[in-house]
């Protein structure tokens, strides 16, 4: 602490020039040097920073592209049957030499001597003998065969993911199925949101008795277990893509309507909305120009969160036999068909299982990232 009357030299002798008033003009409040950025630009920037979201986003894009392209370029159609090529294992050009996806399969419990019979084991079909043993004195082997040669299919035939019990190319079916599943999910969510928005907007905007009646109706509907409602409606409507979408919408819109109604309640008290109203702006204009734009952020988040749920629902319905009509594939149908021959032909389950898992993880992560980006206050919550 310094005594002003007895200062150390270096302080006392500071140059006089420093002791002049520095402020000449009026002091202004701080001006922001950065350009203001809009809410959505800001959200996009935040989203871009989240690695998990960006990776997920690109995975989703790639899967969508695959679903659009692959069924057209495999050279097979999803419904083309060929019973001479039943349950072929995966065979992919290029990978064959590496010993994976080379169309090989292990056949168990074959008589040792049958290997020499060209009717049973065509020329060049035996790759190697895996195990040799005896059953009551009869020599028996487990043998790895080139299954394509074994069943007499031409050498240049490739089924990247193998074929199913009707000899249909599973790769084509998987991506055709992805197309179908994504379409179902997309439309189910879209319809839910459209209905939810209309319902919630009417209830929220008009309030009062209308709101009371509408919200109670929605409450009662929401009490119905989703699984039960979906199954009941599927039974009523019968198998098919349209039925699935409809069944998933019966009570699916309620969440959105609640969200929209809450948003309306939040925004309709705001000054700018009141001001617009006193200026004689019509209800419709008020809803579409002033209130709805504020609900877009939460809606996008909601939609993204519901898509994996809808993909799941489709697969679930397929499993319990209420899927889309054959011969159309969907991820769920493929999984369910694969499951029935899981232990014999695991690859028939493997590919759809991996695809649905990756798709669900990617959608969930992306939806989380999107929610965090659009609502930074909720960052970190899951």
């Amino acid at each position: 602490m310094l005594d002003p009357h007895n200062l150390p030299d270096e302080i006392r002798d500071l140059p006089d020039a420093g002791f002049e008033l520095a402020q000449t003009g009026e002091i202004k409040d701080e001006v922001f040097h950065t350009k203001p950025i809009g809410f959505y630009r800001d959200a996009l920037q935040r989203l871009r920073k989240s690695k998990a979201s960006m990776v997920s986003f690109w995975i989703i894009v790639i899967i969508i592209l695959l679903a659009l392209i692959v069924p057209n370029i495999t050279g097979y159609t999803y419904m083309e049957q060929d019973t001479s090529k039943k349950n072929l294992p995966p065979k992919i050009p290029g990978l064959e030499s590496l010993g994976i996806a080379d169309g090989s399969q292990i056949l168990t419990n074959r008589r040792r001597d049958s290997l020499d019979n060209p009717d049973r084991f065509p020329e060049g079909s035996v790759i190697r003998i895996v195990r040799e043993y005896e059953l009551s004195g009869v020599p028996v082997v487990d043998v790895m065969v080139d299954y394509y040669t074994f069943v007499g299919v031409d050498d240049d035939v490739y089924h990247w993911m193998g074929t199913d019990y009707l000899g249909r190319d599973l790769c084509t079916r998987l991506f055709q199925g992805t197309r179908v599943s994504l379409l179902i999910a997309f439309f189910a969510v879209l319809i839910r949101i459209v209905i939810g928005v209309i319902y919630g907007a009417i209830a929220g905007y008009y309030g009062g008795k209308v709101d009371f009646a509408m919200i109670h109706f929605a409450e009662v509907m929401d009490g119905l277990p989703y699984v039960v409602v979906t199954i009941l409606f599927m039974i009523l409507l019968g198998a098919g893509m349209f039925s699935i979408i409809l069944a998933m919408t019966v009570t699916g819109w309620i969440g959105t309507s609640r969200l929209i109604r809450a948003q309306f309640y939040r925004f309709k008290g705001r000054e700018y909305v009141l001001a617009a109203r006193t200026l004689g702006v019509t209800d419709r204009k008020l809803i579409f120009r002033h209130i709805l734009p504020n609900t877009i952020g939460p809606l996008i988040t909601k939609a993204m969160i519901e898509i994996p749920g809808a993909i799941f629902s489709e697969a679930f319905l397929a499993y319990i036999g209420l899927g889309i009509k054959p011969p159309n594939p969907s991820i769920g149908i493929l999984l369910s068909n694969g499951q029935s021959v899981l232990l014999q032909y695991p690859y028939q389950t493997l590919f759809p299982a991996v695809l649905i898992s990756v798709l669900m993880v990617a959608f969930n992560l992306f939806a989380n990232g999107l929610r965090d980006a659009l609502d930074p206050t909720r960052r970190g919550e899951d």
Partner: protein
């Protein structure tokens, strides 16, 4: 509090009633194959229809339908799967494995989820947290039936540690549980992850709350404050997360039962749906509705008991 419980109970009854009505409409709108059977004598068919009140107007039919369920637990008779057998009896014979499977999945999931969520929250942003959070995303995203297939292939076929299918003739409970282990785990993964995620979020929030700070400034150790305030308070909202878990387990159970050939209500339901045995289907669906509504009711009531803001009559 009593008003709160009665309100919840009323809502549950209303919903059940709605399920019954919907079911009734759907049964009646669907072609009833039993009565289209050309081999049945038309006179007998008339008599049968009369006995089942099918000759009366819809409203009267509806009355008998509801009356049958409410007064006698009479859901009608199975048409195809166990022709002539009372639906109620069919279901009753299937209930044990389903309840065992679902209850055990939940019983396993709750403590494991709580442990995982707590560890993740206490190690927030450290490696352990990252690993747990990653697993949580996987377990939440991947459907239980995909896990069921994976587990079945890996642990009953590649490494045959467990039987591939449920063993209905298991000599004792241990053997039954052994054959149920895979389906139980397949069903528990999603609830574990859901609880962990929820609890982690809640804990992290309460750990940064002012009242936790107060607990520490008044002289509690960090551990005491965490257990007595953060943990306790975080568990309350977990109750709400349990409702969707139970419905998720029951839904997943249908498919998982089918995969592991568990002779339960879920598998039965799929069978009856595929066969078009609508009485059986409807009864199964009403069972599912009743159980999930009852759990909602129980959870709501216990929530009210735990949270003083509801119990003492404040607003939630």
């Amino acid at each position: 509090m009593l008003k709160y419980i009665l309100g919840r109970f009323g809502a549950m009854l209303l919903t059940l009633f709605l399920v019954m009505t919907l079911s009734f409409l759907i049964i009646r709108l669907m072609p009833m194959s039993l009565f289209e059977n050309p081999e049945v004598d038309p006179v007998i068919q008339k008599l049968l229809e009369a006995e089942m009140h099918l000759d009366k107007p819809m409203v009267v039919q509806y009355y008998y339908f509801v009356k049958g369920i409410v007064t006698e637990g009479d859901f009608g008779r199975s048409v195809k799967i166990r022709p002539g057998m009372e639906v109620f009896k069919v279901l009753a014979s299937k209930i044990r494995p389903t309840v065992l499977l679902n209850v055990l999945s939940l019983v396993i999931a709750i403590p494991l989820g709580i442990i995982a969520g707590t560890v993740a929250a206490l190690r927030n942003n450290k490696l352990t947290d990252t690993i747990i959070s990653f697993l949580v995303v996987i377990f939440i995203s991947v459907p239980s039936f995909v896990f069921a297939s994976l587990l079945q292939y890996a642990f009953t076929f590649l490494w045959p540690l467990f039987p591939t299918l449920y063993d209905p003739a298991a000599p004792n409970l241990a053997a039954t549980l052994h054959s149920l282990a895979m389906p139980i785990i397949a069903l528990a993964l999603n609830p574990i992850a859901t609880i962990a995620r929820y609890l982690r979020g809640e804990l992290i929030e309460t750990m940064s709350s002012e009242y936790l700070l107060l607990a520490r400034t008044k002289g509690l150790t960090r551990a005491q404050a965490t257990v007595r305030h953060a943990f306790r308070n975080s568990l309350v909202p977990i109750f709400n997360a349990i409702i969707p878990l139970i419905t998720a387990i029951m839904g997943g159970s249908m498919v998982v039962e089918k995969i592991f050939a568990v002779p339960g209500i879920g598998g039965q339901l799929i069978e009856s749906i595929l066969a078009g045995d609508h009485f059986l289907t409807v009864a199964g669906l009403i069972y599912y509705s009743a159980v999930s509504l009852a759990t909602i009711l129980i959870v709501d009531i216990s929530y009210g008991l735990i949270d003083p803001r509801i119990r003492v009559g404040g607003t939630k």
